[in-house]
């Protein structure tokens, strides 16, 4: 596993919805090595405060070596990143973590909620490009309302992927939860579900898949200091007891391995 620490140039910064920002970085070495579900650690300050890097899923890469991250401004680090201007150099580490297992599945369903859609775009494009003939995954995206959801859908539509939408307030697509939409797809144990989003959403997806015996991979988040297995700070409890480390054992896990009650 080869990881790289690099200063890379910010090529473009876009506010794609209120408080949601997409950065495009010129990072050919990291982009070349990355697989969907992996992440990068980004330094947000020039000084010592904020001290730690921030983890972000790789949202998309392209053949010119550009790498995108998509994030919500929630605190000091993301605020700083949102203010960065084109031409600035950002220090990033990556690619980190294990990534999704694309398996053999011809019947993949990607279920994202809120910023959880970030890693799913890269995953969807990989499915389309797979060597043994591309497959078009099904994509279910959920958010609180139309304003949040619609800007996140565009990239999937541009790939020619139909998006099944669900909003909490019914202002767009299905009025309700992504799991309600997921139920209607009649997936089987031959299908695979890939999910990323708020914990309650992923727990619901997991429970549904468990009941229906559908394989399900989830990408989980924790606080991180190092992102590379050194600090042991990113523990998540395992069903079998003990802990896994999100940065090195994950961030993608078979949903059944994790202890969801916590």
């Amino acid at each position: 596993m080869s990881q790289i620490q690099q200063k890379v140039e910010l090529i473009q910064s876009e506010v794609i919805a209120a408080g949601t920002v997409r950065l495009t970085l010129n990072a050919p070495d990291i982009a070349a090595a990355a697989v969907p579900g992996q992440f990068v650690m980004v330094q947000t300050a020039q000084g010592l405060d904020p001290l730690l890097r921030r983890p972000f899923s790789i949202h998309q890469i392209n053949s010119e070596g550009l790498l995108q991250i998509l994030f919500k401004v929630v605190g000091r680090g993301t605020e700083r990143l949102a203010q960065c201007r084109t031409g600035e150099q950002l220090s990033i580490l990556g690619p980190l973590g294990n990534g999704f297992n694309l398996g053999e599945s011809g019947n993949a369903c990607l279920v994202g909620g809120g910023m959880g859609i970030a890693p799913l775009l890269f995953l969807a494009s990989r499915f389309l490009q797979q060597s043994h003939g591309g497959v078009t995954p099904r994509v279910i995206l959920g958010a609180r309302n139309r304003e949040e959801l619609v800007p996140l859908m565009g990239d999937f539509l541009a790939l020619g992927i139909e998006v099944l939408a669900a909003t909490d307030d019914g202002s767009f697509g299905y009025h309700g939860l992504v799991t309600d939409v997921l139920k209607t797809l009649n997936l089987t144990s031959q299908s695979s579900v890939y999910s990323c989003g708020p914990k309650p959403m992923m727990a619901a997806v997991h429970h549904l898949c468990q009941k229906e015996n559908i394989p399900c991979q989830v990408s989980v988040e924790t606080v991180m200091a190092c992102g590379m297995g050194a600090c042991l700070g990113c523990a998540v409890p395992l069903k079998a007891g003990g802990y896994a480390h999100v940065c090195s054992d994950g961030p993608v896990f078979e949903a059944g391995e994790l202890l969801w009650s916590l």
Binding site: I4, Q43, L52, R53, A225, A230, C231, G233
Partner: protein, 313 residues
């Protein structure tokens, strides 16, 4: 990984910790560098002065429930709870890679009783790759043992004696900063036979989430590390340097060569880079390159010219 870009052939960066000879004074700090392999993409590991590995106990430990870490102003809190694979798996799974690196491997140990420390030392003494043992008597996270050993000079001395009896390799005792007078513990472990002391371990701290009104760490309190604690660490190294004659290894908030050289001037023979490796995985090597550049530019005969060279008055 970047190519090595500071020529060091002609420079004398060697230091000794008792009978342990190091090619340079830059080590990793326990618990912040994993078992070294985690950093092989970032650091030319064979260039390090020594590698200090995560604290090892007799039995494997699962560690504390999450959240285990929280960022603070220029620092971080951790309450990992000493998660580790246990001494047996450490020797069978981790030592082969470590001993092949060609740099001294220092094993950090922790126990719940004096006898556990002795047993750990005995087990590790059997493993040929172990260059020295660093005794963690200062970890604030585990309720049993940890705190008391590090804050009571007599207990600290007892642990030191037990470890010395258990092994032949140099024994470094790692001191806690959470004491009224760090020189008392330093003197006690020196008398008990410690070959060196390293300091500081983390300061005990806490943070609260206003939204949930809960502690930010599941363990409630945790250890504060990073640049925030550097002034406290440097002061304690300076104080201990006046109080003992065994070698001192300086630790606490070191993120640059300038930081490291402050510790050398204050009396440390070597340094450990901790939290900085999380932010900049190449921090250890950057510190080394910076020291080398300074030694060359200042035309010092050796890096040892810096040790204790602080001018006062």
């Amino acid at each position: 990984m970047e190519p090595v870009n500071v020529k060091m052939d002609e420079l004398d960066l060697r230091v000794s910790i008792g009978s342990l000879k190091l090619q340079n004074p830059v080590m990793t700090a326990s618990g912040t560098f994993g078992y070294a392999r985690e950093f092989e993409s970032y650091v030319h590991l064979q260039r390090l002065g020594a590698v200090v590995v995560k604290g090892i106990s007799l039995e494997p430990r699962a560690g504390n429930p999450p959240p285990r870490i929280f960022e603070t102003a220029c620092g971080m809190l951790n309450a990992i709870g000493l998660e580790n694979v246990g001494v047996d798996r450490f020797i069978s799974e981790k030592m082969p890679y470590l001993s092949a690196l060609g740099v001294p491997v220092i094993v950090n140990i922790l126990g719940d009783s004096v006898d556990e420390y002795r047993q750990l030392a005995e087990r590790l003494a059997e493993s040929p790759g172990v260059a020295a043992i660093e005794v963690n008597i200062s970890c604030p996270n585990v309720k049993k043992g940890g705190v008391a050993f590090g804050t009571d000079p007599q207990m600290a001395a007892a642990v030191t004696k037990a470890v010395k009896q258990g092994c032949q390799v140099p024994v470094i005792v790692k001191l806690s900063p959470n004491v009224t007078d760090v020189t008392l513990v330093a003197r006690a472990v020196e008398e008990a036979g410690a070959d060196a002391v390293s300091l500081i371990n983390t300061l005990i701290g806490m943070a609260i989430d206003l939204k949930s009104r809960r502690p930010r760490l599941a363990n409630v309190i945790g250890g504060l590390s990073g640049p925030a604690i550097k002034p406290v660490a440097l002061r304690m190294v300076y104080q201990v340097a006046q109080a003992v004659s065994i070698p001192i290894i300086g630790i606490g908030g070191i993120a640059s060569a300038e930081d490291a050289m402050e510790f050398l001037l204050a009396g440390a023979c070597a340094v450990q880079v901790g939290t900085a490796s999380f932010v900049n995985p190449r921090a250890t090597e950057d510190v080394l390159d910076g020291i080398a550049t300074y030694v060359r530019e200042q035309k010092l005969e050796s890096v040892r010219d810096l040790i204790g060279a602080l001018r006062i008055g």
